[in-house]
Amino acid sequence: MSRVPLTRRDLLERSAVFGALAALPALDIPAISAFWEQADALKPTPPNALGPFYKKRAPEARMLRMKADRGMPLAVTGRIIDTRGEAVRNATVEIWHADHGGHYDIAGYRFRAKLPLDADARYHFDTVMPGHYPDRVCQHVHYLATAPGHKPLITQLYFATDPVFEGDPDKNFTKDPLIQSRELIRPVRIAGDPKEMYAAVSFELCLERL
């Protein structure tokens, strides 16, 4: 998620509007307000494929990792906002991903959850770094976010540390043909103490209003 960049052309046009406002009081003020509102809008999180393994009725959970699970512990945090930057408190967020070996749990709900949101629409969950599903290039976590008055957001979170990117996701993100946006690849920070290290990732979801 990022703000719409303010270009040199935008600046010139905005300056012109200010000049015109002073000179021509009969200008269409609502249109100008709409322009400003749009210019300040956040970009919705890019969508990405739902994939075939979505499963309904995932249990509400934050801790998806069990003691015996293989794989690097992973903590993901984020917030659900709309294009005005306001918290979407009534959103429902579901996530699912493959285990360390790249297998999806079909029979049960391992590594599947509906995420509780706090009063500021923030979420977090603890899991393991997903493995590489055999027919996909990159490690990924699926997201489905829905909220009344907003378009459903189906997307995926990718990891900048994925070996596929060879340390340069800017250059190599197209190695996975399903990744249409570099924005979905998030930096990974190593956190915790030396005995209990984990990967930490932040992924904010920006929903588009209907």
């Binding site: 075939p52 393994f53 979505y54 499963k55 309904k56 079909i106 599903y133 055999p134 459903p152």
Partner: protein, 322 residues
């Protein structure tokens, strides 16, 4: 003695299963093969060849019947009931109806881009298409009649009931809906579906809808009540195609491997009434199935420019070319 006899029977059974996977022909095309589909009668098969061409072969012996050049990449294609027309949706949204005798275009419909799922009513009067979560219904003149939608995710399969009154849709949102074609109203949603369904097939009498997907079991849905009447034994694979034999007594199913869709997966033949598994073959990675007019279940495999059609009973292998 009994143990030896049982061991021998086991070995014979295993050998019989192995021998049951037989290719009847392989054709080598001029470009990479993609997305093969059988005609409803099972006597023809069409597949993408390279980026903007479709070839149609006899599914009985591999004879090339037609080559269709397209102005854009195909997104999906289906035969009409008689198997003499091919409907092709292009990536740009155009849907073309081509005559297979000449390859000529008969009609063209302008739809929005990405119509990746198509279904045609048996009488050919209604066409259903799906792009992402939206389903559009068209009449034979190419006029849009109705629009339906799933909650989210792509609609991956559509099927008309034999009388054309009901349209079934399956989506990645793990829902299977039944729509009243005349009113556009959603009549019912098949209950207790937790995972995505990929395969939809009405029985000839229209009373049952056979569905299957990631859960691995073929379920028999009673259309009148939209309830699951029976569930056939599940395989440890996802069902992606179901066909009913011409005599209505058997079900063919093709699967994909959940732990990697390009990994080998089986094709099965089961009795519709009892659900008993008649045969299970492991041909490799099946991409399509169809019952031939003689009642044999055929499957299509593809590798690079090669398309192989196999059958569950041994036949001579021959080679052809496009």
């Amino acid at each position: 003695m009994i143990v030896r006899a049982l061991s021998l029977l086991f070995v014979l059974a295993v050998c019989a299963q192995g021998a049951a996977q037989t290719s009847i022909f392989t054709v080598k095309a001029t470009g990479d093969i993609g997305d093969p589909v059988f005609a409803p009668r099972g006597d023809r098969i069409a597949a993408d060849v390279g980026p903007d061409r479709i070839c149609v072969w006899s599914a009985l012996d591999g004879t090339l019947l037609q080559t269709i050049e397209l102005p854009d990449r195909p997104a999906a294609k289906i035969f009409n009931a008689a198997g003499d027309e091919l409907l092709v949706s292009l990536r740009n949204g155009t849907i073309q109806v081509r005559a297979l005798s000449t390859g000529a275009m008969l009609r063209e419909i302008g739809a929005e881009a990405g119509q990746r799922t198509l279904a045609l009513s048996r009488d050919g009067r209604l066409l259903a298409t799906a792009a992402r979560e939206r389903v559009t219904l068209w009449d034979s003149s190419g006029t849009m009649v109705r629009r339906f939608a799933h909650d989210f995710g792509d609609v991956v399969n559509l099927a008309f009931s034999p009388d054309g009154a009901t349209l079934a849709s399956a989506g990645l949102d793990a829902n299977v809906h039944l729509w009243d074609v005349a009113t556009g109203r959603r009549k019912a949603t098949v209950p207790d579906q937790l995972l995505a369904t990929f395969a939809l097939r009405f029985t000839a009498d229209g009373k049952s809808l056979l569905i299957g997907g990631v859960a691995g079991a073929i379920e028999v849905v009673e259309v009148a009540t939209a309830t699951i009447a029976r569930r056939l034994p599940a395989q440890k694979y996802a069902v992606f195609a179901i066909e009913v034999s011409p005599d209505g007594e058997s079900i063919g199913a093709a699967y994909f491997n959940i732990d990697g869709m390009t990994q080998p997966a089986p094709v099965t033949l089961s009795q519709l009434d009892s659900g008993r598994l008649i045969r299970r073959t492991n041909p490799g990675v099946p991409y399509a199935i169809g019952f031939a007019p003689d009642g044999q279940l055929r499957y299509a495999l593809m590798k690079g420019p090669e398309l192989t059609v196999g059958v569950a009973t041994p036949r001579a292998t021959r080679r052809g070319g496009s």
